[in-house]
Subunit: 311 residues, 3 copies
């Protein structure tokens, strides 16, 4: 089995069999990171560029380590230290980087569609590491992997996504991913942070966390982006925490084996109570571990690797 | 054949046979970047430091990839995150880095002569990646390589350099390089951006782009540094674009196979019209590809490699 | 012989036999950096993360090169480009990094105890690269190595530490290290920069540099942190330089083979006269070279290497 595309841009158009292939490959990759010698020669002589227009420790580090554990050469470029400061447009930056013959360009950008645009103009593989409020497809893949690990199967599970649905690329990618894998998805959050036609994506909508907690197999809690708070999208962090913060008291109504997930970084005490974040139902750190595995799998598959090959 | 010096500091004092050696080695190196496995063990166990006091995506990335494709260890240091913030002088920073036994120090600095100074005090090889308005010798090498690729030979070609000649290290290095290789060089730009005794370098001088376009085999267009604009060196970007911007209308008077070159990043619509930058005569991205090859060649040759050796 | 702990956090609690083991291993490591191929496969497949909350060229570069020369994969994270900007706490950042299975986390942080804290919560090895005004244990190790190289033995040597003792983690680590190895330590500096109960650490205290120079085998000069000057800890840099600056005139009263040491970066003309910093008694650059060797030794030993193994 091979991927249908040489790019990994979104979950919306990703064939379900590609999701299955990435997940099964990621399981093999995870095993590599648990070895004493955490490195395979698979991508030796390949070049991977991390082009990050938005800062992110965990995502950049995850991609960097993924490339290095496959023996690729990894080059990091962050907007703050780049020619971007000199006003160069994304196209020129990308075309110039491509002229150095990279194999994969990993792009994070604040504009929705940035990764798709690069995939149209570049010959190398493009991985979308988050494009504005559009998609964050590797996050959805690692979330699927984590759910599958803990629940055995994704199909039929009730996943409740909590928070600022409107601005969340994590929510958007997960809605597509979970839907394709047969999960039931509910989104819950304040009305001001709920996109008007969200139901068309096949999800249930709620505005009261208490109403939907009881049925949840998974609570996927989104990060509240404090910078948006300042822009007036919601009145008060305290009020948000009071109505939508996930805490022990609220979890009393939950299933005994509910999974607590969060893409990080957590605003402790806002969207998630520290005791819950660090509690027995939290799989937040598993998500990070699986993120590395998923990114290794994607790099391997995008550069022509197949499910039958031995690592 | 071997290089005459263990440093690569300027074109002004570079023997022409060294230029020829770098160009021929760079052709071999270019082939490596086109392979499926873009990596040779040539510089395994060597350490290369990129010490950049001025930001630059493309040049830093080019040197970083060059080192990695030769299997060297590459360490990046940028002024903003370094002890420079603590007020350490260049000499102390360089002496300290040398104490860690690097093999090559690549230096970009805003002071003319910075690379020469380091070459005098350090034992390791020094590559000048741009020193103020003085020289940018690897840029000139990649420009020569690009012209040779497209024109077969450099000798006898008419090269017109357009723009801010006074402040351009790219212009200065190319004037030396093209002269040594037998090209005819014309510089053209506003009087306020033309150094007073420029003719002593053996170039023709013009102040009207239209006058010199017809004879050009190569149009080498310099970047207008917008920050200088603010300092009052020229009155208006619109006026500059009107008089010296290279556009399709102006190219109607050009030779049918004129090469369009630019060191990047481009100010689209100022010194270069987008349609020309992306048009059929543009070899701007070839310059980037060749830059990587030239830097690989230099690293290899400076550390003792010769033309007879097999890669 | 093996280290007693899998972390390297401070000198205060370090068994003297571990100091001896690190020093002897560092001597073997130093030889590697002098080879033509400065790289051994010892830590291939290991991942080392440099997590720096305070900027430092030399220390970060030293750890980075140490890891690379042992063939480890090294990932740099600096606070300015990390999620720290998003307000994530140290614990969450560290736990997330650990979820990617690193082998060693090198941490520099402005809070005393930061490294100890991480060692308590993480499974991977932690190296303290400086925690506030508490300790900088790898600096003390490289200082010991440098003294031993030049003086044959540390025991019985008179070491005079000059400067801002109160705020110096370098002083603190060296006081412990030198004491454990049998040296006599004197601290000298202005009263305002001398901790009240410093004598309890077993050192002699002086407030006049002239009084203690004659007996010194080693003058260890601390960096004056100019930012503290602004906070009013001492009245005038000129006055400090006059009373405690080490210069040629003052050294007339010194032993003929006194060693001049400084952790860098130097404020030339403040705590140290340029002629002395660059003079025949200065071993400041040896300290840098030895720093790399000590860090290679630590990485090797912390990951299970022993004195009997061949590199």
């Amino acid at each position: 089995m091979y991927l249908h595309s040489k790019h990994f841009l979104d979950i919306e158009t990703l064939p379900p069999e590609d999701i299955v292939l990435v997940l099964s490959t990621a399981r093999s990759m995870k095993e590599i990171s648990a070895r004493k010698i955490k490195k395979v020669p698979t991508l030796r002589g390949k070049t991977i560029i991390n082009l990050f227009y938005e800062p992110s420790t965990r995502t950049r580090t995850s991609f960097e380590m993924a490339g290095k554990r496959l023996s690729a050469d990894v080059v990091n470029i962050s907007a703050s230290t780049s020619s971007v400061a000199k006003g160069e447009c994304l196209k020129d930056t990308a075309m110039n980087l491509q002229a150095m013959n990279p194999d994969i360009l990993v792009i994070r950008h604040s504009s929705p569609g940035a990764a798709h645009y690069l995939a149209r103009i570049l010959d190398c593989s493009v991985i979308n590491a988050g494009d504005g409020a559009h998609e964050h497809p590797t996050q959805a893949m690692l979330d699927l992997m984590t759910i599958e690990e803990h629940k055995g199967a994704i199909a039929g599970r009730n996943v409740v996504i909590v928070g600022d649905i409107t601005h969340s690329r994590v929510a958007r990618s997960n809605i597509w991913a979970l839907g394709k894998m047969g999960a039931e998805v509910t989104v819950v959050g304040p009305k001001t942070l709920m996109p008007p036609r969200i139901k068309e994506l096949g999800v249930e909508v709620s505005y009261r966390l208490e109403d939907v907690i009881p049925k949840a197999d998974v609570l996927m809690i989104l990060r509240i982006q404090l910078e948006r708070h300042r822009q007036g999208f919601f009145p008060s962090l305290r009020e948000y925490a009071k109505l939508f913060g996930v805490n022990r008291r609220r979890l009393e109504g939950a299933k005994p084996d509910v999974l607590i997930m969060h893409p990080g970084p957590i605003n402790r005490g806002v969207e998630l109570e520290p005791e819950v974040a660090d509690g027995p139902y939290s799989v937040i750190l598993d998500q990070v571990t699986n993120g590395l595995a998923v990114r290794m799998a994607l790099m391997y598959l995008l550069l022509g690797g197949g499910s039958a090959d031995r690592l």
